[in-house]
Subunit: 368 residues, 2 copies
């Protein structure tokens, strides 16, 4: 009976995978033409997008999974997710950060199913505790479906990470669910340590759950510049007029994040504190720290590495059957593709965006 109930209730549940990022922090392994989410980054045989899709499948009917992405990745998505129908892929005509992306998905789903609730998740995060994830998301759906809440997933921190945004928990409303007190951008180490010490802060995962109705109403209140653009075509969503409307209007949306456009302003924002083995895999060091190391303490992807006096390094190699022989590197990234070889201390990984800019300036787009 319980199972039957779930089956009925999840027909109004939708998953939206945001899949349009360029992943420039992982250049050259991640390329404009084939960013991070499309790469088998963990050596599992599945790309991060495929792992995300697999993880969502048990939560909602397969046809309720949508992918929002830049139009240049349509073909990659069809190849990597052959079970996804064309109408489940929303192709953004321009990159406008997460708020317009999520708004479109919400208006689209709401037109099809006014009773819909939805989870929004990036395509390129790592979640290792899948059962716990499913339990948390089902509870999250139940939570938002029983009221008018904007819910975000918060990760209990285990270290003073400076690479993530933080959410301060306010009043508890039920087990693991809290009113959000504040959102904080990436803190410095000192502040991160304070956050960790208070026990009041969670990492901002960038995974959201809400009813489409709640989200659209909140956008109308807190981000009218975005909502008004979509409302202008409200009759078009769910009809053949939707794509022409989007093609015409999407580019005029401001490029802002959903955190900035909505979450930091709205009052009905809640957080579920979860423990799902999450990482945003946002940097080489986070990749290294969340991927099994070999006996020498290195992470190797797509290559055989014979290492001497080398540790704490990440080797990611695109060429099939390539052999890497390395001596005397500690805590380096070695990313090798057909036309680019990057060797860089992991401690300097924040410089990679600068390298990419330099390449663009000096050589052009060829290697990006």
């Amino acid at each position: 009976m319980k199972q039957q109930h779930t089956d009925i209730s999840n027909t109004h549940r939708y998953c939206v995978i945001m899949c349009g990022g360029v992943g420039s922090r992982f250049w050259p392994a991640s390329r404009t033409a084939r960013p991070k989410q499309f790469i088998d980054f963990c050596g599992t045989g599945r790309s991060l997008l495929q792992m995300t899709y697999d993880r969502l499948l048990p939560l909602v009917p397969k046809e309720n999974i949508l992918i929002v992405t830049n139009s240049q990745y349509a073909e990659l998505i069809r190849t990597q997710l052959p079970d996804i129908a064309g109408h489940q892929i929303l192709l953004e005509p321009a990159r406008r950060n997460t708020a317009p992306c999520i708004a479109w998905a919400a208006y689209h789903i709401h037109a099809i199913d006014p009773k819909a609730s939805m989870i929004v998740t990036p395509a390129d995060h790592l979640i290792t505790r899948e059962t716990e994830f499913h339990k948390s998301i089902n509870r999250a759906f139940e939570f938002v479906e029983s009221g008018d809440s904007l819910l975000t997933l918060g990760i209990s921190p285990d270290r003073p990470e400076t690479g993530y945004g933080y959410i301060q928990m306010g009043t508890p409303v039920s087990d693991d669910f809290y009113k959000v007190k504040t959102f904080t951008e990436k803190p410095n180490l000192e502040l991160a340590k304070v956050f960790l010490g208070t026990g009041e802060f969670l990492w901002n995962s960038g995974i959201f759950i809400w009813k489409t109705e709640t989200l659209i109403e909140a956008l109308r209140t807190y981000s009218p510049d975005i909502a008004s653009r979509f409302d202008a075509g409200i009759e078009a969503f769910g009809t053949p007029d939707e794509l022409p409307f989007i093609a015409r209007e999407f580019g005029s949306c401001p490029s802002v994040s959903i955190d900035y456009a909505l979450m930091e302003k709205a009052r009905n924002v809640f957080v579920e504190a979860v423990n799902i083995g999450w990482s945003d895999l946002g940097t080489w060091s986070s990749l290294r720290d969340h991927t099994p190391r070999n006996a020498s303490g290195n992470v190797t992807q797509g290559c055989t590495v014979m290492s001497y006096n080398t540790s704490g390094s990440v080797f990611t190699v695109a060429g099939k059957d390539k052999l890497v022989v390395v001596d005397g590197l500690h805590d380096y990234v070695i990313a090798d593709t057909d036309d680019v070889l990057l060797i860089c201390p992991i401690a300097n990984e924040q410089h990679i965006k600068q390298y990419v800019n330099d390449v663009k300036q000096l050589i052009g787009d060829k290697h990006l």
Copy 2:
């Protein structure tokens, strides 16, 4: 008249390029299938073999240049030296070090031209002072043609190099020509400093000049185990029977160097002290020290390198148009090919042979 005289006199002069080495110290840039001598190692657009050939052309008639090599490199040589006729390439059926290689060339030339004199040179050395080289070699030919001398080229040392053998000069016999007192294997640094201090020692270049008659007689006296094998087929040389004879007998020669087989034992050994900008390019560090560096103090071959905080390193990349972005490497070798990437401190370059052995043990011949 002088020119006319030279033209007549050099018809009996021959050049023998030894081109059969495997260059394993430069793995993976140098591969069994395409060793160092076939690579454009200096970024000049010509391989070391081609540079050697170009350098010898003004010295002797073109048809008097012979290449001795392992049979597996026949095709590479025909491609790189299209002006060389098939009969100018002597294909060794087995690798037997320099003594049997030189002996065959000498017996072969002597059968064709009993008045011949010859220079023997490796295919993979660098000589930057070409005019001085030509002057020195012409004097060398005149020297050996006027008597029965085994002549070697000695390089005036400018540093206490431990990677070369040394020749001690004895009695001077004419300008720059000396009787050889001793040959010494690679010394340790302390001894090399003493050698440099005395002013009596030259580096052993491995370049030899002699009449074929003198060389064959010396082999008969000092290396009868080699000479007797070639003498057994003396009627065959210069006839269609030569190749079958070599195919049958060459492999039974002992594998020894000409230094060990002859030069260290013979009495009629002389050295010409030359200053020709010579390097045997035997190691990555010698390559680095004899190749122009870019503004960042690195040597780059076949690739564009964008370097940050990187110096004294050698980048050799086989992939066309490959971009290397590197941060934080000082005095490293980075050698990238289609199927192997080597990153190694230049200070550990003597370990490369060990890496190659390890690869052979663990993976097999695939990457060698």
